[in-house]
């Protein structure tokens, strides 16, 4: 079983994230970055599947130089090799262009399963796995809160808005998993040392036959005209419960016409 797991290097959600003033793209330099927390679940599932059979996990990331940190983390966890697609022309790419670059890179790799997280923690669109399935022309088995692989069959539990579904497909397939799957492992000391010797290939757009004018900010199919910081909420009245906290709460709700 050959698994390619797609990961994204994102600005830390706990830090003060912002936009670049000049082009409205996410500011990736002023904030510390890391492997997206939601992608760690995908790495964990990939490793679990690989360990249960005779599997091999390749970690793939598209992003600027710092994205190699996200790849290294996945290698420390247990992936065997990494592929880093990096090209200045990619800066400002939207999900459509990102899925194109990922799909072209995946086509160059040997795979049975492409594993993704449910969404990035910065853009949070959650559409790239579906787009990858569309582009690769293979089954889309996405948003799994449980994942099982038996032979060449993948099966997930998908918690939809009104129902819970069991979805099944034969490989090859694009699979995405939610944060309801088991927590990711921490890299062991041995894993950290071993990762230093693991191969990471760096590919540019030219290696993927992707024309530079199909990606990046200029090729984006949507345009941001403004970004604004939401005015911070002003802290309202805080009372301490002295036996009448519930009544005071309802008195407030009544002034706002909720009661």
């Amino acid at each position: 079983m050959k698994i390619v797991v797609c990961v994204k290097h994102v600005p830390d959600a706990a830090a003060d994230r912002t936009f670049d003033d000049s082009d409205h793209t996410v500011d990736r330099t002023g904030v510390d970055g890391l492997l997206s927390e939601l992608d760690e679940y995908a790495v964990e599932q990939a490793l679990t599947i690989a360990e249960a059979g005779d599997g091999e996990v390749t970690v793939l990331s598209v992003g600027p130089e710092q994205a190699s940190d996200a790849i290294r983390k996945a290698l420390q966890m247990g992936a065997v090799k990494g592929v880093h697609v990096s090209d200045d022309a990619i800066h400002g790419s939207d999900a459509i262009a990102t899925s194109l670059v990922l799909a072209k890179a995946i086509e160059k790799l040997d795979y049975d399963i492409v594993l993704c997280g449910m969404a990035s923690t910065d853009g949070e669109m959650g559409v790239v796995p579906a787009m990858l399935a569309e582009r690769l022309g293979i089954a889309q088995v996405t948003l799994g809160s449980e994942l099982a692989v038996e032979g060449s069959t993948v099966r997930i539990r998908r918690d939809g808005d009104v129902s819970t579904e069991t979805v099944e497909a034969s490989t090859p397939a694009v699979v995405s998993v939610t944060d309801q799957t088991p927590e990711a492992r921490y890299p062991s000391f041995k894993g950290i040392m071993a990762a230093k010797k693991k191969p990471v290939e760096t590919w540019a757009l030219a290696d993927l036959d992707v024309a530079p004018d199909h990606v990046g900010l200029s090729a984006a199919s949507s345009a941001v005209s403004a970004t604004q910081v939401r005015p911070p909420r002003t802290k309202g009245e805080i009372v301490t419960d002295e036996g009448d906290g519930g009544v005071k709460l309802v008195e407030y709700l009544a002034t706002q016409k909720f009661v």
């Binding site: 912002t18 936009f19 409205h24 939207d94 999900a95 459509i96 449910m118 923690t121 949070e124 669109m125 559409v127 579906a130 787009m131 569309e134 582009r135 022309g137 889309q140 088995v141 996405t142 998908r158 918690d159 939809g160 009104v162 129902s163 819970t164 579904e165 069991t166 979805v167 497909a169 034969s170 397939a173 939610t178 309801q180 984006a220 199919s221 949507s222 345009a223 941001v224 005209s225 970004t227 604004q228 910081v229 939401r230 909420r233 802290k235 309202g236 009245e237 805080i238 009372v239 301490t240 419960d241 906290g245 519930g246 009544v247 709460l249 309802v250 709700l253 706002q256 909720f258 009661v259």
Partner: protein, 319 residues
């Protein structure tokens, strides 16, 4: 007249509220046409007319229910190619966003997800507002390529009634074998609780770690207020309440008129799911809890005492 396609979100013909919101937004941009995929269109037709649908495109194929997402995206793409609408609006649901993503690739068009507002821009084309980075920033954007495909969050607008002709047009769609690869082998409807749906509710009462796993006081106050119940991630991870009630970055995003957080500290991941609520109220034992930075009104106290008293008071005032 400019045609705007609205994909109907329904369960066997019972149309879900976000669809009426989409029809309301579509009327700002042009003439709404509802796209009904699956069975039950007869049942849905009147309600779609009541929110201004001039046309209802109907296609039914067993593949829509038997396979995940791809067949619906294919049918919608065929309609977009033949009808050339000015925009396509889809609910930001689990399936909706993935249908939109596949559609954008198929018809080579731009995609905007999770809009919290859609208006006609200076050139008449849709202009969207999105709330990003845990609700700390708002982004104004528009699609610049192809047919704008926009997914819209629930509660972006109050559904406004308007009479539409809802003339039915049957669609002939062909679903390829490639779209029939991810089989839905089982589907279990979620049990009805009798409470409003979380993402659609005007009031949400949420419980966190401070409940200690006892959601009795949360549910009682929710019922007194006619509210939906929500939960923090800590609660869901502890197995105290089901995941479908989780509010936050990886759960549901809610934007009700009133959000009442009890025993929730207010981590950034939780704030991402509720920060755009109109009024926020919190009850927490810890006066240093970050949730108090956001609230319009807060009570420092034990939710197991404050909530039951509040429930009694609400019931008393209701007489």
């Amino acid at each position: 007249m400019t045609e705007i396609l609205v994909l109907v979100d329904h369960v066997d013909g019972a149309v879900r509220k976000p669809t009426f919101e989409l029809l309301t937004l579509a009327r700002r941009l042009g003439e709404p046409s509802a796209v009904f995929l699956g069975s039950g269109s007869e049942q849905a037709k009147d309600s779609l007319a009541a929110y201004g649908a001039e046309k209802v495109y109907v296609a039914d194929d067993p593949a829509f229910g038997d396979y995940l997402v791809a067949p619906k995206a294919e049918a919608l793409a065929q309609l977009v190619e033949s009808a050339s609408p000015a925009a396509v609006l889809i609910a930001s649901s689990t399936d909706g966003k993935e249908i939109a993503g596949r559609l954008a690739i198929k018809v080579e068009s731009g995609l905007i997800t999770d809009a919290v507002d859609v208006v006609a821009g200076p050139d008449g084309a849709p202009q969207t507002t999105q709330s990003v980075f845990a609700g700390n920033h708002t982004v104004t954007a528009s699609v610049t390529k192809g047919t704008p495909i926009i997914t819209v969050k629930a509660n972006a607008v109050s559904p406004g009634e308007a009479t539409g002709a809802a003339s039915v047009e049957a669609l002939t769609v062909s679903i390829s074998d490639a779209a029939k690869t991810a089989r839905v082998v089982e589907r279990r409807e979620r049990q009805a609780t009798g409470r409003p749906e979380l993402t659609e509710a005007a009031i949400v009462v949420s419980g966190g770690r401070g409940t200690g796993g006892d959601f009795g006081p949360i549910e009682a106050l929710a019922d007194a207020l006619g509210a939906a119940v929500g939960a923090s991630r800590a609660v869901v991870d502890s197995g105290w309440y089901p995941h479908s009630y989780q509010v936050g970055q990886t759960g549901k995003t809610v934007s009700p008129q009133l959000y009442l957080a009890a025993g929730i500290s207010g981590a950034i991941q939780h704030r991402a799911g509720m920060q755009t609520s109109k009024t926020i109220v919190a009850v927490n034992k810890d006066e240093e809890a970050p949730i108090f930075e956001l609230v319009d009104f807060g009570v420092v106290g034990d939710l197991h005492k404050v909530l039951p008293q509040a429930t009694d008071e609400v019931n008393k005032r209701k007489g």
